[in-house]
Amino acid sequence: MAKGVWIVAEQRDGALRKVSLECASTARKLADQLGEEVCAVLLGSGVEAMAGQLGKCGVDKVYLADDPAFEPYTTDAHAAAVAKVVKENSPSILLLAASAQGKDLSARLVGKLATGMASDCTDLKIVDGKLVAVRPMYAGKCYGEVVVSGSPQMASLRPNVFPVVENAKAGEVVKFDPGLDPASLKTKVLEVQKDTGGALDVSEANIIVSGGRGMKGPENYVILEELAGVLKGAVGASRAAVDAGWRPLKDQVGQTGKTVSPNLYIACGISGAIQHLAGMSSSKYIVAINKDPEAPIFAKADYGIVDDLFKVVPEMTKECKKLLAE
């Protein structure tokens, strides 16, 4: 009988990712409803100290495999190790982050474990002892409730949606042999090119200041960068702005870009094409700044400002600086 709510913890450059604490906290909540324990799989080289952090967020046991082959992340090494330890212990539920790495790993595990997964979930609950996952589909134009009948029941969690809850448990470390076969490690990371400026990714930001066609040109995004800088947020863009070559592809929010759920989304000069609205409607608060009072974005906005964004945004930057200094 499958038992236990498991997560795969994600670490990069010597630090546990925040979304892994979101996974741990969520796993704890589900496990308490089921009366089961929470276990985390942690892979890396010299990462044992991170077990304590997982323990603080409700993890009873950390299955740790320490091997230089885990750094940097490759699908081959990580999927083989996670599949091995999961098969040996048959948990009932397995959660991962819907991050770049988590998406890659979780999908491979669906194949290795021959099960099903609800990806990029925004809510998880237990109904009659089974996991029910809620997830946006069509980039959020509708939502689906998904039941996984395979074992384990897999789900990946959209970053920034599930709360981190401190709930200290043992975080006892259990070392396991990942049994890696060097011949099976086929892909190699040749190079890691860090983005310059260390800008926050829109998928991980609590606050996004986003610009569309109304920005009129790439040189004007500096005013959004200034506001985002004061708010410690990221700068996003509409498809129109990305297709015009004003902003990099990684910043695109919408159905053919990233679907985001920040606490605050400030849409500047974005009219609100349906495919953009789909990608940001699950934001907690939306501010729209646009000269056109008929722009569809206002229908989604909690606060709308009908005015010239080039005048409003710099004033907001000044005002936020003042408020945050108080």
């Binding site: 699908t75 939502y143 039941v147 608060y285 989604k300 010239d308 005048k311 005002e319």
Partner: protein, 256 residues
């Protein structure tokens, strides 16, 4: 090179999605169906590799009868032949079942590289490419924005949060295509005429020797949660409006 590109037919990005009153799915009437945009990048990359290295491109799709239009679109772009997997037991199937069907068809074909879109913009699952790679026992590189063949391997750029990775994999492997990989071509009129005569094999589950074993099921589809009505910020000038909204964000919304 023997190149395979998997495609899915999905509602256009501009489509309004309406949920059926009983929550059993979406209303399909009136929807314009198109090739999944991420699959288009895969088809385009497949065609570019063929043009550079020779060989042919096979298009594979799992879907109902209408999915044939999408296969023909890819053939009109320049692919040589198609496989249409059409079986009611596979409609709306999960990633594992869809990949099982694709793998069964692909195992009968020669292949050096397989393209999928990084996700389909309907169910947004983003799993099929990786599951397919696992079922074929070959490596995957997901979310590719740049690709280059080097001897008998492929070198790919893959963006992750805050960085770009350059990853190398031996062939054969599965690549999932991300926007940025290329600019897909439009089908030419002669291309569309030629596509009508190109061969497409239609196969059902029995012909592939598989049975659907769906492990993840959407049991209910609901509209997105309604947003409470918003307010338009009034004020004398931009500065006053900016001050009001910042105050509301701090005191009412408590998000800054």
């Amino acid at each position: 090179m023997n190149i395979i590109a998997c495609v899915k037919q999905v509602p256009d990005t501009e489509a309004l999605i309406k949920v059926k009153p009983d929550g059993s799915g979406i209303v399909e009437e009136g929807i314009k169906w198109v090739m999944n945009p991420y699959d288009e990048f895969g088809v385009e990359e497949a065609l570019r590799l063929k043009e550079k290295y020779g060989g042919d491109v096979t298009i594979i799709s799992v879907g109902p009868a209408r999915a044939m239009e999408t296969i023909r679109t890819a053939l009109a772009m320049g692919a040589e032949k198609g496989v249409h997997i059409d079986d009611p037991s596979l409609y709306g199937a999960d990633a594992f079942t869809t990949a099982t069907a694709l793998a069964a068809a692909i195992k009968t074909l020669p292949y050096d590289i397989i393209f999928c879109g990084q996700r389909a913009i309907d169910d947004d699952s983003g799993q099929v490419g990786a599951v397919l790679a696992e079922l074929l026992g070959i490596p995957q590189i997901t979310i590719a924005t740049k690709l280059e063949i080097v001897d008998k391997s492929v070198k790919v750029v893959r963006p992750v949060e805050g960085a770009q990775l350059v990853i190398q994999s031996p062939l054969p492997c599965v690549i999932t295509a991300q926007k940025g990989l290329n600019e897909p071509r439009y089908a030419s009129l002669p291309g569309i005429m030629k596509a009508k005569k190109k061969p497409v094999d239609v196969k059902n589950a029995a012909a592939l020797g598989i049975t659907a074993d769906i492990k993840a099921r959407v049991v209910k589809t609901v509209p997105p949660p309604a947003r409470p009505p918003g307010k338009i910020i009034e004020g004398e000038d931009p500065a006053q409006k900016a001050a009001t909204v910042c105050k509301l964000l701090r005191e009412e919304a408590k998000v800054i």
